[in-house]
């Protein structure tokens, strides 16, 4: 028996440890290290000097901090609205047409998610370029219109589109599988009672998938709070003075920006720590709300 136990634990250790080690070393340890770095004035000299909470005081008195917070709220709220709204429309549309077309539609809309980010950003920047050579502007000129300074003037909608085309497929996939699992009798009964298509969507489908909607909102709020790759690749915080600089992008610029002011790791870590704490609190709340524990049924036997 003892021997069997030893064999069992050896097997478990051998198979579990590689994953555990790489996650502890490259995900857990850096999270803790980030918090520690925020208490130092680590910079380009890479000297470790504790400075207590002074980086946090600096954040509180940073005249630009309210701009970054406001931008983060605009970015998350706008992209989230696009993601969930378009995702929902796509799910409804693709489940109410011929199955072949519906499946094709979902496959095509899923594609931006697998495209390399630099390619997507490049095409979008060229399509919405404020210059005359941009695709939309050359189209406008061809039709006799005036060029529009797309990314200069409509920078937020532009960012919602760039991010939204990637993000909306999550909602689309989850919502459409939820809609497909609604019993047909419910829809039929409503139709017999004379309900219109819109009423069926509002009164039957939406209430039945409200948990899925809540889940996507929760999940994407968390990931958008710390997302900056497409902003970095397109507008990079501009145009103008910090007009699209979100908190996490400012952290990136403080640490790895092109300017002399960069490599301020200590102060940059404050931004990240704040986002980590917000993210942790939010995920604990979601954990309770969505009863994720039920997903973790214990194995029946060994």
């Amino acid at each position: 028996m003892v021997q069997r136990n030893i064999a069992k634990y050896t097997t478990m250790a051998i198979m579990l440890l590689p994953a555990a080690i790489i996650i502890i070393v490259f995900l857990i340890a850096p999270s803790i290290l980030t918090i520690l770095i925020s208490l130092t004035n680590l910079d380009y000299r890479f000297r470790w000097e504790w400075v207590g909470l002074s980086n946090y005081y600096r954040f509180l008195s940073d005249p630009n901090a309210p701009i970054f917070i406001r931008n983060t709220i605009i970015f998350v709220a706008g992209t989230l609205t696009f993601n969930v709204g378009v995702g929902l429309l796509l799910a409804l549309l693709s489940t109410h047409i011929h199955d072949t077309i519906g499946t094709f539609l979902r496959a095509v809309w899923y594609m931006p998610r697998v495209l390399p980010s630099v390619v997507w950003a490049f095409v979008m920047m060229w399509m919405f370029s404020p210059m005359d050579t941009g695709f939309l502007n050359s189209l406008l000129k061809y039709m006799g219109g005036k060029p529009v300074p797309w990314t200069f003037q409509y920078y937020w909608p532009f960012l919602f589109i760039v991010n939204g085309f990637i993000g909306c497929s999550l909602g689309m996939v989850i919502f459409s599988s939820a809609i497909k699992s609604i019993p047909q009798e419910l829809i039929m009964a409503a139709k017999v009672d004379g309900a219109s298509g819109l009423t069926i969507v509002r009164r039957i489908i939406l209430p039945l998938i409200k948990w899925q909607i809540a889940f996507v909102v929760a999940y994407q709020t968390l990931s958008l709070l710390a997302s900056f790759e497409y902003i970095l690749l397109t507008l990079d915080g501009g145009p103008g003075y910090y007009s699209t600089e979100v908190l996490i992008l400012q952290a990136y610029h403080l640490a790895f920006g092109q300017y002399l002011a960069a490599m301020r790791f200590g102060y940059a870590a404050v931004f990240v720590t704040i986002l980590l704490v917000v993210g942790l609190v939010l995920s604990i709340v979601y954990w309770k709300v969505f009863r994720l524990k039920e997903l973790m049924i214990e194995p029946k036997l060994e």
Partner: protein, 279 residues
């Protein structure tokens, strides 16, 4: 009446399905265009770099600024394959243990995987930079691969656990009764049965490594270790307004494996997206 409505709805569906294809179509048109800034005419001259791998072969100054395209392609491939192999190996083992063994801290472990997966790893860049610098892994592909593996593994474990869960216990017990060891049953019985899951995770982690930008951009300086994403983004930065056609041609080469793998494995990739959050 109902028929006409359904026909219109189907037409709308078809039109909407074409929207994400517009940017891709424009990219292809630009790549074969005679004009350098908009789709005009047809030429293959933008792909001339494929002959020797040298960009701007006619310009002695510019051609030295950029690495050989084939060495860039090799780096991108190494990052993608390295990420894929390690993620598949370690998450197929860990997923099995988490699915089949009960032990202390199991649900805490699973929960932490879920939480970690929800928060993008880009928040850890500052600490990771410091760690890679201390380990001497800054400016190496290996450093990027290790970070990438750590980021993709929680999802891989979570998805494969789901695949193991869906295999009935009877099959495993039968082989144990027949005298197979636990490890033997895992290798010979379980692994072949979760092959679709392994394929899905492999595909996902290959594409994730292939398209990676932020980690390469942040951790790699020397252009001999560049990947496609770095090369394209640096061309966009240096001459964004001048030679778009060349960037589009490079992007097309970059996209070829992505499109092929997407067409082959779209169903599996969707499974990873759902599996990653629903178990």
């Amino acid at each position: 009446m109902v028929k006409a409505k359904s026909l219109i709805l189907n037409m709308v569906g078809l039109l909407v399905a074409l929207i994400p294809l517009v940017p891709i179509g424009l990219l292809v048109a630009l790549a074969f265009s005679e004009s350098q800034v908009q789709p005009q005419g047809f030429t293959t001259k933008n792909f001339d770099f494929l002959k020797t791998g040298t960009l701007f072969a006619n310009d002695p100054v510019y051609s030295k600024l950029y690495p050989n395209v084939y060495s860039v392609a090799l780096n991108t491939f190494l990052l993608a394959v390295g990420n894929m192999l390690i993620v598949v190996l370690i998450s197929s083992m860990a997923g099995y243990i988490i699915s089949r063994y009960s032990f202390k801290g199991r649900s805490a472990l699973l929960g932490s995987f879920l939480v970690i997966h929800g928060v993008p790893a880009s928040v850890l860049l500052i600490a990771l930079y410091y760690m890679l610098k201390s380990l001497g892994l800054l400016n190496t592909l290996l450093g990027v691969i290790l970070v990438k593996v750590a980021v993709d593994t929680p999802l891989g474990v979570w998805v494969l656990k789901g695949f193991y869960d869906s295999i009935p216990w009877d099959i495993e017990i039968a082989s144990l009764v027949d005298g197979a060891s636990r490890l033997g049953a895992f290798r010979r019985i379980m692994l072949p049965l979760v092959a679709p899951g392994i394929f899905a995770v492999g595909l996902f982690s290959f594409l994730s490594g292939w398209g990676e930008y932020i980690f390469v951009y942040t951790f790699i300086q020397s252009s001999k270790n560049w990947t496609f994403s770095m090369l394209i983004q640096s061309l966009v930065g240096e001459m964004g307004g001048i030679n778009l056609a060349l960037i589009a041609a490079l992007s097309m080469i970059y996209l070829v494996p992505v499109i092929i793998l997407f067409v082959v494995g779209e169903k599996y990739l969707v499974r990873v997206t759902i599996g990653g959050i629903k178990g």
